[in-house]
């Protein structure tokens, strides 16, 4: 059992190196009962390493990791439900057998599949997992992760690949679980998943570079919007001038740019366009935060690497 506000998952000043690579650099992260925390970052930002340390699957070089207030162990991990990107289901077992298997692995009585609130899953209880569509497989992975009544749900891109209605229903499940006092930590690359979280933590190059609600992280950061009948010419022109514009519909957006400079560039080339300032989107801010290298790269290099 947990009480609202209890710290379920806690990382304090965690440091971890892999050889010369500083994978996690004094990172803090907390998940409380009753909240969904989104952990975001580019590949190689250190998200997975940090989670593995708090779950006790990898030692930290320094810092404190606590799961339900205790050092991570097999015992504390029992109170965890995990849905990986690969879903972790047994393809050659039926829906009911998968649920029985995971429950027994956690030392719980097998739940009756007909007890799940999910009518579609109950109706498919004897179907093999490999014959199910992805949406239903994801629902089964959720049911399996929840079957032993865990206190913390760790979800890795939980709704990837499913259609919006199925995605909405999966989020209903997560929110419902969290409202009963569980906590959830969601790692994701996708902004509509981030939008479902109560709080977001952004990592870049091993460090936490922003934390808070999406609105708080965006703050008053702005993007220049360019409206024109000829977006293609405007885009090519800005591109030539080294301005990284994004196409949205038939408009352009340039996060963090100076509207006067953009207007001047367009005017000088005789492109009829109207520029204005708009609040940046969370994704624009996130890309700026996650992409900002701590050491400036040579011009034209990518900030991302396969670390």
């Amino acid at each position: 059992m947990t009480l609202a506000g209890d710290v379920l998952f806690s990382a304090r000043a965690i440091v971890r190196r892999f050889g010369p690579l500083l994978a996690v650099d004094r990172a803090d992260l907390e998940v409380h009962a009753g909240e969904i925390v989104g952990l975001l970052g580019a590949n190689g930002a250190g998200k997975t390493t940090l989670i593995r340390i708090v779950l006790g699957l990898l030692p930290a070089d320094s810092g404190t990791a606590r799961l339900f207030g205790l050092p991570p162990s097999r015992g504390t991990r029992r109170r965890l439900g995990y849905v990986s990107q690969g879903l972790g289901l047994w393809e050659d077992l039926s829906v009911a057998e998968n649920l029985q298997f995971t429950s027994r692995a956690f030392g719980k009585a097998a739940p009756a599949v007909w007890d799940t609130a999910d009518d579609d899953l109950a109706a498919a209880s004897r179907s093999l997992v490999r014959d199910l569509p992805l949406g239903l497989r994801r629902r089964l992975a959720f049911a399996a992760a929840l079957a032993h009544d865990p206190d913390l749900l760790v979800l890795d891109e939980p709704t990837s690949g499913v259609d919006p209605l199925a995605r909405a229903r999966l989020w209903d499940t997560v929110h419902a679980a969290v409202e009963t006092g569980k906590g959830s930590l969601v790692t994701t690359h996708y902004m509509d998943e981030a939008g479902q979280c109560d709080r977001l933590v952004v990592m870049s190059e091993g460090r936490v570079v922003a934390a808070g609600t999406a609105a708080a992280i965006v703050g008053d950061r702005a993007a220049v919007t360019v409206q024109t009948d000829d977006w293609a010419t405007a885009f090519a022109l800005l591109d030539e001038a080294g301005v990284a514009a994004a196409l949205v519909g038939r408009d352009l957006r340039v996060p963090g740019a100076d509207p006067v400079r953009i207007q001047r560039l367009l005017d000088a080339a005789g492109v009829a366009a109207r520029t204005s300032l708009a609040l940046a989107t969370f994704e624009e801010v996130f890309v700026a935060l996650a992409g900002e290298p701590t050491t400036p790269p040579a011009p034209g290099t990518a900030s991302e690497d396969g670390a």
């Binding site: 975001l40 970052g41 580019a42 590949n43 190689g44 579609d120 899953l121 109706a123 498919a124 569509p133 992805l134 949406g135 239903l136 990837s160 690949g161 499913v162 259609d163 919006p164 209605l165 199925a166 995605r167 909405a168 229903r169 989020w171 209903d172 929110h175 409202e179 690359h189 996708y190 902004m191 509509d192 939008g195 479902q196 979280c197 109560d198 977006w231 293609a232 885009f235 090519a236 591109d239 990284a244 994004a246 196409l247 949205v248 519909g249 038939r250 994704e283 996130f286 890309v287 996650a290 992409g291 040579a298 034209g300 290099t301 990518a302 900030s303 991302e304 690497d305 396969g306 670390a307």
Partner: protein
């Protein structure tokens, strides 16, 4: 930009397309226009038929009915995931191999490759084995290879799957630059926020067109009204027509009468798709069909 703008604007696409795999109908009378200088998106979940549509457009699937308009085969670029990349070759060797296959001369190849690789942020990775690149870099290389022969039509099947947001932003800039250069581009994605970048969107569900049009048109056409309520304030009867929107619940009122307690919410493309899916749901549906 070396991708030339075509002299005559062309519209590629499919009309009334039906594709069957054995007994199963993968696409059922679907139409999509893919104009030049434009980004068009095909959206749907797993099994919706979006890959089939793209493969039919690329000429890799024989239609059971309808017609496909595409340029000559050497004017088409097609990327399905990062599979188009030769992992045992370096980035430069990948470029050279594809350039040779398309008969692009050395000087021309060098100029185009430099431009595309620089834009893709791969210029310093030219000597690296493609197999040692991150997922995002590999996807960008796949795009560079598909765009190298300056096709009139670029078909990209889930180019951003597994790509982190920083690389994704770079990939979208590559795509926009190609469209600005006159190329007709069609992109399949499962993500609605990505589709909102496109000038026109086709939403597929179980092989049929669920919604089509410019994102703003689609959301403007939404029947009824949406509003946000605290989860515990949603009447039980309205629950099946509601879904979570962060801390609140977004409720769809088909008759258009919003709750007195809440102001109407501005629908997103995802909301429009959820509403259309709910409207299309039959009361006694097969599980997961």
């Amino acid at each position: 930009m070396s991708l030339q703008r075509s002299a005559v604007p062309a519209v590629w696409g499919v009309e009334d397309l039906t594709v069957r795999y054995g007994q199963r109908t993968a696409l059922d009378h679907v139409s999509l226009a893919v104009p030049s200088s434009t980004l068009t998106a095909v959206v749907g979940g797993d099994g919706s038929g979006k890959s089939t549509l793209l493969r039919a457009l690329a000429g890799a699937v024989r239609p059971a009915g309808g017609c496909v308009r595409r340029p000559a085969a050497h004017q088409v670029g097609y990327v399905a995931g990062a599979r188009a990349v030769y992992t045992d070759l370096t980035v430069d060797e990948n470029v050279a191999f594809v350039a040779e296959a398309y008969g692009i001369g050395r000087a021309e190849r060098e100029a185009r490759a430099l431009l595309l690789l620089r834009r893709a942020g791969l210029i310093d990775a030219r000597e690296r084995l493609a197999g040692r690149l991150s997922g995002g870099m590999r996807q960008k290389l796949a795009f560079v290879l598909a765009a190298l022969h300056e096709p009139q039509l670029l078909i990209l099947d889930e180019p951003t799957t597994g790509v982190d947001p920083v690389s994704r932003a770079e990939l979208w800039r590559l795509i926009a630059a190609a469209a600005a250069g006159g190329v007709a581009i069609v992109v399949a994605t499962t993500y609605l926020d990505e589709a909102e970048r496109a000038a026109a969107v086709l939403v597929l569900q179980r092989g049929r067109a669920l919604l089509a049009g410019a994102p703003a048109e689609i959301t403007a056409r939404l029947a009824g009204v949406l509003f946000d309520l605290p989860p515990d304030a949603v009447p039980a009867g309205a629950l099946p027509r509601s879904w979570r929107n962060g801390a609140l619940r977004r409720v769809w009122a088909p008759a258009g009468r919003p709750s007195a307690a809440a102001a109407p919410a501005t629908p997103t493309l995802a909301d429009a798709v959820i509403v259309a899916s709910l409207s299309a749901e039959k009361p006694a549906e097969e599980p997961g069909s």
